[in-house]
């Protein structure tokens, strides 16, 4: 008889213990983030989508050679007056990019003309759209839709003096 009540007591204690864990988590702050209304801020070094600045680029071809997946290509024309190469077009195939940072590291210009932004919401709706082209005479393709912030980040370039564009309403 004693054992019987002991067993009931033990079970009851196990319930209390188990529910204690439940209640502990019930009253502790939530870790989930209500994406897309809330966003986490990526880390300082975060390797997001590549951004390119046609006005800074000196067409040295270093990034093209450094890329392990051949996602970058460019064409340059020699300018006889300045004895420098003028960028004709610069393309990044975002379908091939594997976010390794090698192109940013090798880039000779200061500030870097090609670099990782902290943009992590890059989306395209068709395969052809993955290939993004920049031309110096048309530096800023306009954003497709107001919601697509990333187009601004990747093409408008960063404001002078600031290393990276900030992501909107960072949390954490």
């Amino acid at each position: 008889m004693f054992d019987y009540f002991c067993a009931i007591g033990n079970m009851g204690w196990a319930f209390v213990k188990g529910l204690g864990v439940t209640f502990k988590y019930l009253f502790s702050p939530a870790v989930t983030v209500q994406y897309p209304y809330e966003k986490l801020t990526p880390s300082e070094l975060f390797r997001g989508a590549l951004a390119f600045h046609p006005d800074l680029c000196i067409s040295c071809d270093m990034c093209v050679r450094a890329c392990p997946s051949n996602c970058i290509s460019l064409e340059a024309k020699r300018n006889e007056q300045t004895k420098k190469k003028d960028l004709q077009w610069y393309r990044i195939d975002f379908a091939k990019c594997n976010y390794c940072r090698l192109c940013e590291e090798i880039c000779l210009t200061k500030p870097k003309s090609v670099h990782h932004s902290r943009e992590f919401e890059l989306t395209f709706t068709s395969r052809n759209d993955f290939v993004v082209e920049w031309r110096p005479e048309r530096p800023q393709p306009k954003a497709l839709e107001p919601g697509q912030e990333w187009v601004k980040f990747l093409t408008q370039g960063r404001p002078p003096g600031r290393r990276r564009a900030k992501s909107p309403e960072g949390k954490k």
Binding site: N70, S73, W89, R91, D93, R127, N128, D129, F130, V131, V132, E133, W134, R135, R138, P141, K142, A143, L144, V151
Partner: protein, 177 residues
Amino acid sequence: MDDAQLVERIAERFGEAREVPLPDPKWLRPDAPQVKVPAERVAEVARYLKNELGFDLLDFLTAVDWLKENRFEMVYCFTKTAEPKSRLFLKADLPREGEPGLPSLAGLYKAADWQEREVFDLFGIRFEGHPHLKRILLWEGYPGHPLRKDYVHVPDKYDNGSEIGLPKSAVPSGEHK
């Protein structure tokens, strides 16, 4: 037993075994003795290494295709579980023509079972006496052996037309309307 003694002992037992000569004087090497034997004696040497010299662990085995010198080189790396610092590289040359083959070590070291299948798959080197010599990573009927240096990739439906840069068909979408 230091490295030179080890090589000597193997050479004593197997007359043809000798230290691998450097291809050129500046050639760098891992810090371990390297012994070259004729391909057909590999299994005997391995048995000697395992049973008498205590190399009980087959670290890895692989092959290298020296296209210019027209030979395959099998590379075996043995080590001891008691002292993993001591290693021994065993090498054997094979002709590139025909169906190169050498005795299998799968009966001695079970580690050789899958790794020999991998070499067979990617280099086309046959291992005589291997109990289940079949392709392992690629499928049966795959054309050629990809790790040979003269392997030519046959374009298939997964190639998009250009290996480098952009697919020619892709329309750059920089021109957003």
